[in-house]
Symmetry: C2
Subunit: 170 residues, 2 copies
């Protein structure tokens, strides 16, 4: 007869799971971002969107979602909030009546350059508890892992280069 004794469930089933650790670390990252940047009315996602619109003026929502790997539906709300804060404007495209092109406003460019030091401080604080060498190691492994798992995510990241082509041909 097989050993039918069930394996006892322990909290290790949670605490040692990489998924749990990634969730915790994400929560910590957001908390540190909000704390360092509380002088600015910007969330981490809104910051990423703002940076991308800054480096890709005239990008549309679908392409923006691909460049930062955020869900398209979610991004719709993010864009609305950024627009409500007067950090971006949406202009209809001449060639394609479906798309709305995104541009930074002066206020958007201003808040972006002002918030940068605080963002850097928050990012540094996340890794601060580790030794410098360990920070580099973790960042390197994490970068690899995100890249290698790209297709596993619901909204894979499509690099900026790839988008140039996607824009016209497909």
């Amino acid at each position: 007869m097989p050993n039918s004794k069930p394996t006892p469930v322990t909290m290790d089933a949670v605490y040692t799971a990489p998924g749990y650790l990634f969730r915790r670390m994400q929560q910590i990252a957001v908390a540190l971002f909000i704390e360092e940047c509380k002088a600015f009315d910007l969330t981490p996602v809104q910051y990423a969107a703002l940076v991308t619109i800054s480096t890709h003026p005239g990008i549309d929502a679908t392409r923006l979602s691909a460049v930062i790997a955020f869900d398209r539906s979610t991004l719709g709300n993010v864009i609305e909030r950024l627009q409500a804060k007067d950090y971006i404007v949406r202009k209809p495209a001449a060639e394609d009546k479906r798309v709305k092109l995104l541009y930074l406003t002066k206020a958007g460019a201003g808040v972006l350059s002002e918030i940068m030091p605080s963002v850097d401080k928050a990012q540094a604080r996340m890794l601060q508890p580790l030794k410098p060498a360990d920070r580099k190691t973790l960042l390197s492994l994490l970068t690899q892992l995100v890249d290698l798992n790209n297709e596993a995510s619901r909204v894979p990241l499509r690099a900026e280069d790839a988008l140039e082509h996607l824009g016209r041909s497909g």
Copy 2:
């Protein structure tokens, strides 16, 4: 005169930020969990709650939130959903009329033992792209980082041991 040329903003301000990488990895982790466990109607958070109620029968919502470091308000909804699925029951405590004690139902215990292999598969898939040695390194650094940053998170984790005392004295 100082060099007033503004630093040009690049996508590195997003792509190399640890916070962005943690967000991406969390999204990937959830996507893999959902994919592997789609036969079971359980989210990662619901799974963690179920495991904890299993190992701490009669725990209350506040203590549960401390043990898995999830927000108390969020957990209220999670508990409601678990109860709606008949995986847990809530019983009023005799000594304290405010608290409601949480217990697994038979169905809850059943789904928990059944889902375990799929959860393990999902957790393994997350790190699969890395070499075994790198997986160990990443997991070790991540565990350290979450632990060392514990107080930075909005809902710091309070270990099970600490809760025994908290339960009575304060």
